[in-house]
Structures are given as structure tokens and as C-alpha cells.
Amino acid sequence: MTKIFSPLGRTMQRRDFLKVAGASAAVAALPAAVRGAEPVKVLLWSWVPDLQLQVDMFNAAHPGIKIELVNAGQGDPEYQAVRAGLQAGSGLPDVVQIEYQHLESFRQLDAFADMGQYANAHKAAFPEATWKQVAKGDVVNAMPQDTGPMAMLYRKDIFDKHGITPPTTWAEFADAAKKVHAADPNVFITDALFSSGDWVTALLWPMGWKPVSRDGDKLVININDKIAKDFAAYWQELITAGVIETKPGFNNEWYSGLDTGRYATWLTAGWGPVFLTSFAKTSAGQWRAADLPQWDTSKFATGNWGGSSLAVMKATQHLPEAAEVAIWLCTDPEATKLYTTKQFFFPCTSALLSSPEWAGNKMDFYGGQAVNEVFAKSANAVTPFEWSPFQSFLYQSMSDEFGASIGGKGTLSDAFDRIQDAVVTYAKEQGFTVA
């Protein structure tokens, strides 16, 4: 049985937990006097659907702590509430869900507590790249809840029809793009989501792109470096050739496009496979997963798209309890497993990634392929990445400028130049010293 070392020094075994969970109603009914004191209330902001399940499990297992779960909005709305709370100095939760790319922005605002003393013990439970997202050395601000390592989902039927083998390199991908579109002008190898900064970042990531990094007190901004220019040139060629589409994703058109065979691949993250099954009804059974195409086949590298973490706010009055909430919700075997079956999260603990139950799950939608294995492999190949301290602004600039270039204003390469300029200006305005 897996043992969990909690910051409160309580050790609990799974069997014990199940017992407690089974008697959860009884526990909840226990008067406070029995437990000695009122439970410490920990306010948790999260938009994870049905998280109440895990919260109930936690509360049942921790008589001294009571999580109050509030959905304060998904992504940006929640962040705005956090920023407002930081400005006002009140109205903040104890634990808050933050996507990895925004952790650095909130670190810049000095929003988080360091829960390293409790969390470092769990370092080994996660792949290295994942842990590096939440920790800086021994300083730990958040616990990883789910991730999104990149791979490629593709339509086997379309590739077979046109005699294409799934591309393993980007060069092959470009050839396949031209081939498939030439064979059927209504089919594109993919819809490149250039209006989504996070998608572009996920693809630039394994190339070693370092858009904004710190050098001591200085900020090094290299958005339009050689890596970016190579990347831009590659995609620009496909765009100019008209063999890919560049429409915004995640709208009705795009969903239909994936389902009806307009797009032969979807370059997506670990949460993609289950997500695809939720809408692609007519193409079920035709999809397969493959590794993300590589620039350099000698060292397999991927990036991450999406996923989030639970951070502990500096303002919390109950650091040990808040840390316990974040740690337990991200490490408890039952709770984390439930993410994969109930919320369909891509897991981030090494234990789950390697569990045969999850990784070996053969899905009919993917023709019986164990697609999770592909993504689990990717999860362990994600390279380290550094986020900017103003990721919202960077994403927005990317979205605006890539959008403009898709819309006819210059090339992607020009867009990278414009983003570089905008970010440098913004960083200086924000008081950073730009190297």
C-alpha cells in the first residue's frame, strides 16, 4: 500500500482511507468537541469540474481541516480575481488553481507561499520537467495537478487512403501535408492554431525556445531568435502553400473539421485523446496516436500544453493546512486516479503514468491502441521551460500578432519581430531591466 506522508505528520494508508471515506457521513456528523477543536477552514479556488468528489474525500480523511471549494472562474477570470485580491489585500483563497504558464506571473507579484518544507518530500513523485514547473530549487509554490505533454493524434483512414505513413519528423510532416492536400483539396493535414499562444509555445518548447528568461536581475528577451525564425519559416512555407489551415481552434467549425475529416491530424496534448472522444462521434475508431514529429531524431523532446497546479497563497493564515490540501489533492493515489477516470485529466504523477491500468488502457475510439502510452512517453520527454513573468501579455501579443500575420499582415517571422518589440517595450514599462 502506498504510504502518504502528510505535512501534519499523519500517515494514512489506503485501506484506512477507504474506511474513513465509507464512514464519511458519520465523520462529518461528529461534533467538534470529539475532535478537540473546530476544523481549520481552507478556502480553495478551482474550476476543475466535479472536484467536490476529491474535496469530500479529503475532508473525510482530515477531521482537522475543512476545504471550502469555490469555483471562481476558469483561467483568466480567476486570475483577475486573484490580482484584485492581491491589490486589495483581502478576499484571497488559501489554495488556488493556477496553470503552469501563469505561476511565474504570480511569483512576480509575490503571491505565493513557499511550501517547500512540506512539498519537497514529494519531488520524486513527479517527472522532473513537471516538478520544475512548480519548484525553483527548494522553493515550492504549487503542486502539479495535471499536465499536457504533446503528441500527435491522426486519422489512420485518411493517411492510409493516401498512402501516407505517420510522420515522425517535421520534414515528413511537411511532405505529408502537401501530399494529403494535393490528393484531396478538402483535407488539410492539420489546423495550425496560431492564434493560440499556448499551442505555439508547446511546439517551440522542445526546440529550446527561451522567449523570456531571467539573468540575475535582468530579463533576457529572445522571442524572435533563430529558433523562432526557423519555426516561423517552416510553418510559413506550409501556410503559403495553402496545405494547412490556420483557423482558431475549439469552436464549432474546428470541432466539425476534426470530426468530419477536414483535418488529418491534431497536434495535441495529453488531455486531447479523451477530449476528442467527447465530440468526434462520426470518426470514432479511425484515430490513432503517434509521437510528436521531431526536428532532431537523435534526442526525443516534447513540450507541454495545458495542465495546472494548486498553489498556496502567501496570504494564507494556515500554511500547514493549505499545503496539506494542495499536496494531498495532487498526490493521493485515490484522488489522483479519480482525475483520470472522472475528470479525464492527464495524470502527472509518475506512479499513474506508469500504471498499467491507466497507460495500458486500450480505447476503441483509437482502434484499440493504448494511446496513453504515447503521451506518457511524451510526459517523460518534456524539456524544461521558463515562463515569463507576464505570460498573459505575452500570449496576448502572440495571439494578436500571429493573427495579424495569418490575416495578411506580414509573415510569421515578422510577427515574431513585432512580438519581440511589444514585449521589450512592455517589460521596460513594467520596470524590468532588459538585457
Partner: protein, 300 residues
Amino acid sequence: MTATTDIATFIAAKRRRSEQRRSRIMLTLLLSLFLLYSFMPLAYLVLSATKTNGDLFTTFGFGFGTEFNLWQNLRDLLARDNGVFMRWMFNSLLYSTVAGLGAAILATAAGYALAKFKFVGRNLIFALVLGAVMIPQTALVVPTFLLLALSGLSDNPLGVILPSMISPIGVYLMRVYMEQGLDNELLDAARIEGAGEFVIFRAIVLPLVAPGMVTVALLSFVGTWNNYFLPLIVLRSPQYQPITVGLATWYQLAQQGGGGGQVLFSIIITGALVSIIPVIIVFLLLQRFWQGGLTAGAIK
């Protein structure tokens, strides 16, 4: 009069009548085209609400899907996120009703003061109120949000309801309405009869300006029902959000990459359909008030 002129008149009259009928038909056709345009998105909404997610984008937009899925969509809608949809509807109804009533009463009282009393600062106040119409939403919403956060009113329905009760246009309408439609002598007569100012307001003014008040209430009701920006910024808890923010949240959820995205199109479409029904009912029931009250403001 001779028989021939009789016939000529008869023919002329007949021709004029048939010309009139032709122009009547032509105009009716012209308006019908626009009516088609007005109804088209609504028809699409109704038809789409009967479809499954799959049919939504694979079958013709202005036709039925392969199966009739309306009831299932409704069930899904009401079950989604523990039935939060009905909560949103209730919130919208609550905020709009309170804001509508409040705006009507406040605007009537303020309009009454501005129309029927001479006092220091009257013109300044009226100019300020009119100027408020020109202020862009963002100029107010962002600082309002910051102020609410400072005062602890953020994520509090009052942060939406109270600002929605301010209707500068309602004050303007009520002022004009009362200047034109409320005889000073009635108020003087009541004063002579010994009525105090608040008795006069309650017993004389309110009953007489009720139609104008209904118009202001309707304007504020619809304005609050349709408002998106203010509640978007002020309210973050789903249980407080009105239907517009709730639906838009689902809509964004459906358009979101990075995990946690969900395909909710049928639910959104069905929700959109259900959400406009109350306002349409309010419109149908109170349609005549639109005219009366708006005239007062438009003609001056």
C-alpha cells in the same frame, strides 16, 4: 352628372384601390423579407436546440437533425453542473426584477424632483446625469470592480444590482414625462388639501406616472437581463452569475484549449433558447408600455 363621368369615376376609384392594394402587397413583401431576417437566427436557435452535438454541425442549419433531441438537451442543460442553469436563470430574473423596480422608483423620484422643484444645483445635477450616458462602460466597470474589491462587495450580487438601479436615461425620461404629463396644479391642489410632499408623491404622482415607470422598469429589466460586462467583472462565483455570464462561460469553456475544455454546444444552444423565453414573455405582455413611455422621451 352623366353616366359616363360616373363610370369614369368608378374606374378611377377602382384603379386607385387596386394600386393601393398592389403597394400594400409590395410593402408587405418588403417587410416580410426583413421579418425573415429577424426570425432567421431565432429559427436557427429553435431548430438547433432539437439537435445532438453531432447533428449540430453535420446537418443543415435550417433543418432538423437526424434525431429529435430537444428533451434530452433540456435534461442535459438542467443537470449540468448540478443544475446551475436554473440558478443562473433565477439570478437573472432576480437581478433584473430588483434592478427594474428599483430603477423605476429611483428614476421617478429623481425625475420628479428635477421636473417639479426648483432648488440649488438642479441644473448641475441634471447635466451630470445626462453626461453619465456618455461614459464608456469600461471607464466605470474596471474602477467599480476595484472599488468593490476594496469595499468587500466584489462577488456580491449587490455589486451588480445597485449599479443597475441607476438609470440616467430613466431619470431623463421621467423628467420629461412629468414636465409634460403632470400638471403642477394637481400638486398645488394636493398641497392646499394638506397633503405632505411624500403623500403627494405616493398618492398623486406615482399612480399618474405609472405608465412611464413601467417603461423605465422595462428598460432597466432588459438592460440588466442583457448586461454582460458588469456581472462578468463583478461576480466570479457561478452561483451568483446571471444567465449571460453563465452561458458565455460555458461558451468559452467549449472554446478552450489547454485541458478542461468541454463540448457543450447543444447545451449552450438550448440554454440560449430557454434564456430568452422570459424576456420574450415580458415583451409580449408589456408591449404597449414601450410605446407610451418612449414617446415621452423621444418627443420634446
